[in-house]
Each structure stands twice: as C-alpha cells, then as structure tokens.
C-alpha cells in the first residue's frame, strides 16, 4: 500500500482559495441578482469549490482508474434517472384521484 507524501503547501493554498470563493459567493448574493443569474453564478462558484475539494483533498486527481470508472457509472446512472419520462398515464390517473392540481 503506498500513500504518496502529502503536499501541505498545496492544501493551504486550496484552503485560502476556498475561503476567498466563499466570500465571493456571499458577496454576489448581496447584489440580489435575478434567480437565473444567481443560480448560474452560485452553481459555478460552488462547482469550482467542490472541484478543488474533490480533486485535492479527496485525492481524486491522480487516483486509480478503477475509481474513475465507478464514478463514471454514478454519472451515467444519475443522467439516466433524469432522462426517465415522467408523464405516465398511470401517474396522471393517480394524481387526478389524489386531488393534486
């Protein structure tokens, strides 16, 4: 089992970056942007922050291919679930009887 020597300087640099991005995302929220713009900016900044944590703190960058394959299966599964059609006839009948609008 090999555990590569940790890069402390990198961790601290990522820490500073994460704090800055957190401050930035809160600052932008004070501008009270319309929902569409707010969502885009918020998700973009969050994705960068999450990407840094996953790549460097979770050591996903430079991880073994097997882990990438499993995460690929995860991505495929999630997209697959999102693409399942939802306008089933049965569902419409059930909703009609439940009194939902």
């Amino acid at each position: 089992m090999s555990h590569p020597p940790p890069n402390i300087k990198l961790y601290l640099a990522i820490f500073a970056t994460l704090m800055l991005l957190t401050g930035l995302t809160v600052l932008v929220s004070y501008w009270h942007l319309p929902p569409a713009a707010a969502i885009f900016v918020g998700v973009a900044i969050a994705s960068i922050k999450a990407g840094l944590v996953v790549a460097f703190f979770m050591h996903l960058k430079g991880e073994h291919k097997l882990i990438y394959y499993f995460l690929g299966i995860l991505a495929f599964t999630m997209i697959g679930f999102l693409l399942i059609p939802t306008d089933f006839r049965l569902l419409r009948v059930l909703l009609m009887h439940s009194g939902a609008p």
């Binding site: 089992m1 555990h3 020597p5 940790p6 402390i8 961790y11 601290l12 990522i14 820490f15 994460l18 704090m19 957190t22 995302t25 809160v26 932008v28 929220s29 004070y30 009270h32 929902p35 707010a38 969502i39 918020g42 998700v43 900044i45 969050a46 922050k49 999450a50 944590v53 996953v54 703190f57 979770m58 050591h59 073994h64 291919k65 097997l66 882990i67 499993f70 995460l71 299966i73 995860l74 599964t77 999630m78 999102l82």
Partner: protein
C-alpha cells in the same frame, strides 16, 4: 493470511484497497441520496406560486460562518491524514481533534439557527420552503454527526492503533467521507441560503 497481508494483496490485484473502493461506492450512494433531495427542491420550487429568496427567510451570515468552519475542518482533516502518513502521532491527534472540534462548532451554530426558527414558530410543517430547508440541512447534520463518531473513534484508536498497517487507510477513508460532507454543504449553502 493476516488481515494486513490480505489487504495488501487486494491492492496488488486491482490497484485499490477494498476499503478505499468501498468508501467511494458508499459516497456514490450518498450522492444519489442528496441528488434526489436537491432535485425535489428544484421541482418544488419551480412548481410553487411563490418562494422566498434565501436571505429573506434565513440567517446568511451565520451560515457563511458555518461554511468557513466546515471548510477549515476539511483542511484540518487532510492535515491529520498527512500527519498519519508521516507517522507523526502528536500531529495526527492535534489535527483530528481540531477537525472534531470544528464539526461540533458547526452543529452548535446550526442549533442556534434552528433554535431561532423554532422560537419564531417556524417548523418543517409551516411551509414547503421550511420543509425543504429542514430536511436538507437536517440530513446534512445527521451526516456530520456520523462523521464525528467515526473521527472520534479514530482519535481514540490512535493510541495503540496508530502503528497498525491499515490505520492510514482508515484515516483516508474517514477523510473521504468528511470531505464529501463538506462538498454537500458547499452546494447546499448557495442553493438554500443565497438563491
């Protein structure tokens, strides 16, 4: 065959230890859990006649402080792992204790937040917004508590267990889980509080 030797053999077979692969698989299932809840939030919000902006209904400054707290705990967690790799017991203990302390601090601030809501008679049943807010943040808190139990266990084990050949792998696994909990909050915070 002894457990450490068996674990080492597994590593040579696939390139990844059972423990690491197991934790990543578990995290994948947790991603599905939170993704479902996020999707429900989106569907409910888009389908509702009105929905408060985050800052109108929630304490953004306190949640921002909590974000700083959790990110810092992720850093101390990875530093604890670094100390474990370097075989520095005192350093590991120091950073793992800090990680646990920061996690507890997160929960303390969260309890202030929840307490304020309850004092204003705002409960999960009060509105769909509140239901979504309490469900998402509550489930996240449950994950923090679970992580604190594991991290506490590792800190407690570190006395004799530090020299065990599998110990670094355990810290790594606990770290992967803790960083995942941080990543969930990184998305949860803007999604609930800032939009």
């Amino acid at each position: 065959m002894s457990a450490p030797a068996a674990a080492a053999l597994a590593y040579e077979d696939s390139g990844v230890t059972n423990a690491k692969l197991g934790v990543w698989l578990f995290l994948a299932s947790e991603v599905m859990l939170f993704a479902t809840l996020f999707t429900s939030y989106i569907v409910l919000r888009v389908g509702s006649a009105s929905w408060p902006r985050g800052w109108e209904a929630l304490n953004v400054p306190l949640a921002m402080i909590n974000t700083f707290v959790l990110i810092t705990s992720s850093v101390t967690m990875v530093l604890a792992y670094a100390k474990a790799v370097e075989k520095d017991l005192a350093g590991f203990r120091r950073f793992m204790a800090m990680t646990i302390g920061l996690g507890l601090l997160f929960l303390v601030f969260k309890s202030f937040e929840y307490g304020a809501h309850f004092a204003h008679n705002e409960w999960p049943s009060t509105s769909i917004f509140n239901a979504v807010y309490f469900t998402l943040t509550g489930l996240h808190c449950a994950h923090i508590i679970g992580g604190l139990v594991v991290n506490g266990g590792l800190l407690w084990m570190a006395g004799e267990g530090f020299e065990h050949p599998l110990f670094i792998g355990r810290v790594e696994g606990a770290g992967l889980y803790w960083h995942f909990v941080d990543v969930v909050w990184i998305f949860l915070f803007p999604a609930i509080y800032l939009l």
